[in-house]
């Protein structure tokens, strides 16, 4: 069995699966049950001045029978006094000394406020702090959460204030509601962050009720934007993690969050640079015991790959993530339809004919049976046919060899510039 333990900026946990700061980590009762179920760490529900919540807080997108493809909330941070939380944190840590307890914090952007909460929380013995610069609703209207997290100077300054007094590792949790997350990630690093975590939730409005025209969810007939998370946000989160991981100025560990529902998702985040992962929606959807499958699956995967420690995965795919301009323009794939598997539903033909490159022909063989065939020379390898195909194995995308050397857009433009340069030189 592989070693699943991780060390994220000095925070050790028996496995890479942490619960994210959210309802599952609201109380000692819950976090202790989560640890019993197998979670390696928990980021406690954000502490700050206790808030008031509205009733009717969550909504979810069901997509073609898949419940909770995306999840939305307008819940704020903890509504319980700090002493209550600290007492439960202390008790939980005492019962589970080897599990990671990180406490999420959010206060107004004032130095004394940060100093006060950091000292009080660290006094009870926690493994680390996470600064919540991401909550996109409610708290943001008060200058906290994503309102702070969208301004690099505020991220840097507040991180710096925390680092002035903190004795445990400080993780800065970033908001995805920004054009370029590396700007705020770099600010966190400049402020002295020991690690960063991403993503918090994405601004969202889940829907409008067609009968009464209320927003979904609505509070007595009124709605406000919420934060979106769950499986639907995974690609956005994964890209943000990868963009930070490949940025040489962001040289701190990353805790990956956003749509992680399985051990496979966790492995992807780790390969793209995360040292560990945090989970919220999947736990809310399926309960704490979902971690059992995550641990088993990860263990089997590592054993099958002959990898001794999960940490060996960290960042292995990062060198493979680059800019579009560095991709090989002479690499070609084409679709191949396996007629023995194909059910002739024609979805690939329709997709290609209506919205792509018109290269899948509907033909009839000598026995009068219809079949589909790709005109490979006209296929641009867009993948659309294999994406819409409902049958596994009916369409393969296969590489076709090229007589041409690999050539990226950047190399091409450099070659064109060189020719223009030579011409000017000759003209001179």
């Amino acid at each position: 069995m592989a070693d699943l333990s991780i060390n994220l900026a000095g925070i050790k946990s028996p496995n890479p699966f942490w619960l994210a700061s959210a309802p599952p980590t609201n109380s000692g009762y819950q976090v202790q049950r989560a640890f019993e179920a197998g979670w390696g760490g928990a980021v406690w529900k954000t502490l700050g001045d206790p808030i008031l919540n509205v009733s009717s807080r969550f909504a979810a997108v069901s997509f073609n029978g898949q419940r909770v493809a995306g999840f939305n909330n307008i819940e704020l941070i903890t509504d319980r006094p700090i002493e209550v939380n600290l007492k439960e944190i202390y008790e939980t840590k005492k019962r589970f000394p080897n599990h990671a307890i990180i406490v999420s914090l959010m206060v107004e952007p004032k130095q004394e406020k940060w100093h006060e909460i950091v000292k009080r929380v660290e006094d009870v013995g926690v493994d680390g702090l996470e600064l919540n610069f991401g909550c996109p609703h409610g708290m943001a209207e008060r200058g906290m959460g994503s309102a702070s997290g969208q301004v690099p100077e505020l991220v840097e300054r507040q991180t710096f204030w925390v680092k002035e007094v903190a004795t445990t590792p400080v993780i800065v949790k970033l908001t995805p509601n920004i054009t370029d997350i590396t700007a705020t990630a770099e600010a966190a690093v400049r402020g002295g962050a020991d690690a960063i975590s991403m993503i918090n939730t994405i601004n969202s409005l889940m829907g409008v009720d067609l009968d009464n025209w209320n927003t979904i969810p609505h509070v007595a007939g009124k709605g406000a934007h919420g934060g979106y998370c769950g499986p639907a946000v995974k690609p956005i989160a994964l890209n943000m993690v990868a963009e930070c991981a490949r940025n040489s100025r962001i040289n701190v560990p990353i805790s990956g969050i956003g749509g992680i529902s399985s051990w496979q998702d966790a492995v992807e985040f780790m390969l793209m640079g995360a040292t560990g992962v945090q989970v919220c929606t999947a736990a809310m959807h399926h309960g704490f015991r979902i971690v059992e499958d995550m641990i088993d699956g990860l263990n089997n995967y590592l054993d099958e790959k002959g990898i001794a420690s999960v940490s060996e995965l960290i960042g292995k795919s990062v060198p493979r993530y680059s800019d579009w301009g560095n991709l090989d323009l002479n690499y070609n794939i084409v679709a191949k339809i396996n007629t023995d598997v194909c059910i002739n539903c024609n979805k690939c033909h329709i997709a290609c004919e209506d919205t792509s490159h018109q290269c899948i022909d509907m033909l009839t063989d000598t026995n009068g049976n219809s079949y589909l065939k790709v005109r490979e020379e006209d296929c641009v390898g867009c993948n659309l046919c294999s994406i819409v195909c409902p049958v596994d194995g009916a369409i393969d995308m296969v590489e076709v060899s090229s007589d041409l050397q690999p050539m990226t857009w950047n190399e091409r433009q450099a070659a064109l510039n060189l020719v223009a340069q030579c011409k000017t030189d000759v003209a001179k």
Partner: protein
């Protein structure tokens, strides 16, 4: 003519000039695609090809990179 047939025509024209010893001398790219100027090093004779397919643009660009590398080696 299919896009692929169009590409084959463009590739043949490029190959023909390259085989005759022409070198790519200038490229103008605009909304119509690429206009590739060729020059023959011996008699300075010139030819221009209008390349309108994406694969055609990849093709002459690959040849240009090869040409730049060989002339660089020659210059050395």
């Amino acid at each position: 003519m299919s896009e692929y047939q169009q590409f084959l025509v463009e590739r043949n024209k490029v190959d023909f000039l390259i085989q005759k010893g022409y070198l790519i001398n200038n490229i103008l790219e605009n909304l119509n695609g690429s206009y590739v100027d060729f020059i023959h090093p011996n008699d300075q004779s010139k030819e221009t090809l209008h390349i309108s397919t994406a694969n055609g643009r990849k093709y002459f660009s690959s040849i240009l990179i090869k040409q730049n590398t060989t002339s660089y080696i020659k210059n050395e």
